[in-house]
């Protein structure tokens, strides 16, 4: 039986046990609902849960471990010389066996022991499917029987059902932790494989980035270098330009909207700024590559400067435009949180509005603004599409914004979207870069949180 059929049967069985549970509860109370501890529906849900959950758990475990157990059985049945093959070649043999079993074409001749192995595989799979179906349905029926026997008028069904629902809610909330653990483990695992081939210090402090890996030592690609410093320099250059654009404009926008603007202007300008935040980054990248970069190149030519067609300046400018609403909304929240009493005190002393802002409000809101700027920097560092489309792939170690540079994220995309095999250091380098990126953005976020918490003034 297919898994989907089993699921459908389980659904039907659970509905039946819901109805049976309800009927039984009313029966034990002699038809009077008032004598029951909980509403009849809760008894029904109790029965349905006991019917479905054990069977579903079994299904999950079976699906997870079936593959490896069948593979183990297959290996045991193979002749000796095949068992001694390396894992990669053994994988080919398995593919052949599975193809024969499915009736597809195979690579190579049809040897008799492969045919026997394919027949064995089909047999084992068939047994596994039947066993799964039988066990799952048996568990479901047993669960239904157990629940129905336990139901009586004083049975605290509501409490039991609510306890189960609470466990379900708690399980959902641990998915966030599993995601973080998953990210850290998966990136770490592959990065460690990379660092076994390329030393850690070479990667972090090397000055040349030329990710090629040769199969033989006398091939052209043998001179690969995996020094990531040009990538860090490129990332910092583009993020720096973006911050130079975003922080002054964003901060002034926030100040004007919260201090000077009247309600009508605010109602008009704030949604438009939100629109800037909602535009997908691929649109910004296209705009940068199509309009901004050629414009900068023509302006540079007119001024006599040599601007590369994929300059860091173009990417940095457009990234800055993208980050403006981020800085603006974070600063807006912080500036609004400064209590009115401080402003009133400053006005009472005779200061103008700009003097109040510059000398009273901004210093009071400074921790929050710094936290917001750090979060914006973390966003700029992690930005991918704008730099992939507008900045180049040439790893230059330069501080000149008119040249082409590449960033960490652009290299991750290039390394993984190509067609290298998964084990070569070239693709594993992408995971090492991902690890560095994750660590730096995590550190920036934690520092921002710490700065805000430690230096925030408690006014009330």
């Amino acid at each position: 039986m297919q898994v989907s059929t089993i699921l459908a049967v389980l659904l039907v069985l659970s509905s039946i046990s819901y109805l049976a549970g309800r009927r039984r509860s009313l029966a034990t109370a002699g038809g009077k609902i008032r004598l029951l501890h909980s509403l009849p529906g809760y008894y029904g849900f109790y029965a349905a849960i006991w019917c479905a959950i054990p069977a579903l758990l079994l299904l999950g475990l079976w699906q997870a471990f079936e593959g490896s157990i069948i593979t183990g059985l297959l290996i045991a049945g193979l002749p000796e010389e095949l068992k001694a093959l390396s894992p990669a070649r053994l994988q080919f043999v398995f593919n052949d066996i599975k193809n024969i079993a499915d009736g597809n074409i195979v690579a190579g001749a049809l040897k008799p022991h492969l045919q026997a192995a394919a027949a064995h595989y089909t047999h084992v799979k068939h047994i596994s499917e039947m066993a799964l179906a039988a066990l799952a349905l048996a568990l479901a029926v047993a669960g239904m029987g157990f629940a129905l026997r336990a139901i009586h008028a004083d049975h605290r069904a509501r409490n039991k059902v609510e306890g189960m629902v609470k466990i379900l809610l708690m399980a959902c909330s641990t998915i966030a932790i599993f995601t973080t653990i998953g990210i850290v483990l998966s990136v770490l695992f592959e990065a460690v494989r990379f660092f076994r081939v390329i030393p850690f210090t070479d990667f972090l402090f090397g000055l040349e980035w030329s990710p090629q890996m040769a199969i033989r030592s006398d091939q052209v690609g043998a001179s690969g270098a995996f020094g990531a410093v040009p990538l860090f320099a490129g990332t910092l250059l583009i993020s720096g330009i973006a911050m130079l654009v975003a922080v002054p404009i964003g901060l002034m926008c926030a100040i004007y909207l919260s201090e000077y603007a009247n309600r009508g202007f605010r109602a008009f300008a704030k949604p438009l700024l939100e629109i800037l935040a909602g535009i997908p980054t691929v649109v910004y990248g296209f705009f940068a590559a199509l309009t901004v970069a050629p414009l900068l190149r023509d302006v540079g030519k007119g001024l006599g400067l040599d601007v590369a067609s994929e300059s860091a300046l173009a990417a940095g400018l457009v990234m800055g435009i993208m980050i403006i609403p981020f800085v603006s909304s974070l600063s807006d929240d912080v500036i609004n949180a400064v209590p009115q009493s401080l402003r009133d005190g400053a006005y009472a002393m005779g200061s103008t509005q700009s003097e109040t802002i510059r000398q009273v409000i901004i210093p009071a809101a400074l921790p929050g603004i710094v936290g917001g700027v750090l979060l914006a920097v973390s966003r700029a560092i992690g930005e991918t599409m704008i730099v992939v489309m507008a900045a180049g792939l040439s790893a230059n170690l330069t501080a000149n914004p008119l040249q082409a540079v590449t960033t960490v994220t652009a290299q991750i995309v290039t390394l993984l979207v190509g067609d290298q095999e998964f084990d070569s250091p070239k693709t594993l380098a992408a995971f090492a870069l991902g690890l560095v990126l994750f660590a730096i953005t995590l550190a920036l976020n934690l520092i921002a949180l710490h700065v805000v918490r430690k230096y925030r003034e408690q006014y009330e």
Partner: protein, 421 residues
Amino acid sequence: MDKVRASLAKRYAKERRFRVLGRLAIYASLSFLVILLSSIVANGYTAFQQTFIRLDVHFDQQLLDPEGMGRREALADADYSGLLKKTLREMFPEVRERRDQRALYALVSPGASYVLREKVLSDPGLVGKTQAVWVTGDDDVDMLIKGHTERDGPENERRLKDNQLGWIDGLLEKGAIQKQFNLAFFTSGDSREPGSAGIKGALMGSVFTLVVTLLLSFPIGVATAIYLEEFAPKNRWTDLIEVNINNLAAVPSIVFGLLGLAVFINFMGLPRSVPLVGGLVLALMTLPIIIISGRAALKSVPPSIREAALAVGASKMQTVAHHVLPLAMPGMLTGTIIGMAHALGETAPLLMIGMVAFIVDVPTGALDPATVLPVQIYLWADSPERAFVERTSAAIMVLLVFLVIMNAAAVILRKRFERRW
């Protein structure tokens, strides 16, 4: 006092300058938005029209159905590109040299012979008759008619040679070249040929991916928000979960792509480039947004509602399920719609899990290879043909329209259903 009065003028001037600076900042941001949108629209609006050339096609029976029995297989396998070339030669009988003839054939798009095939297969009675058929022009012709390329300049630097320009002028005089609505943009999948390239494949891929994302992230996100807000004890474990969620909201999207690649594709063996895996990765990205907005919505329900329900004898779970959750639902839905709008525009994590392949067929399920609209925009932006520039901009316009619709829906939902306690 005099000192103060003397410095007043300077201080007021500074005040005025500061205010002007603030206004300049806002106007600068808004003008960036206007420049961005107008440059996209200016580049893209021409893509909604496509140049068509009218050919007077004689559906020659000798060429299409020599046996004369009208069998469908014979008609399906016939040489339609030969028919197309014959028609063009008949329309321009003065063209004799092979090189000139090849230049003539290059005036129509490579997909034109399929248009003739479709016409004959849907109406086999056409064999032996003559009819005028509008076929798509080649993308170089399209760019010329729309005014994107120049007619002057040395011949070897142009895409269209002098003889081709002469034929085009001849067709223009006869009224046989027209710009019509570009339906192929909305009904066909991707193609290397700009005239036949459309966004339908990418749109369906986006739809399937967003459906998977919604089905996964909404229940789990709401469940987590309810647990964290209503039931979780205030201990270190809960603090850890909260810090985790806030961190996940700030992790760069490409790291989620690496996670999807390492766990879903390599470890669990799911197929690459399918909306299921894309939806899984995007669901992980959207979860923190839904959780944070869900918690805010639950927090905004006043305690009096909860206390009233408890006082009447409901249990905690019944209070939350029957009283608090329905009142907080509009806020949760608003947060979910905004999260979905973010997911619609995401590109980087989907590049990592392989949705960057060149896929021609329109996907029909969540397990068919597919691509999504932002990735399609990225792929087209890399293509060298000029005609793809306008198509990329048009695809961006379609994407932005969808985003505007979703955000407007969120705003309307918020205005109509959210109650201010």
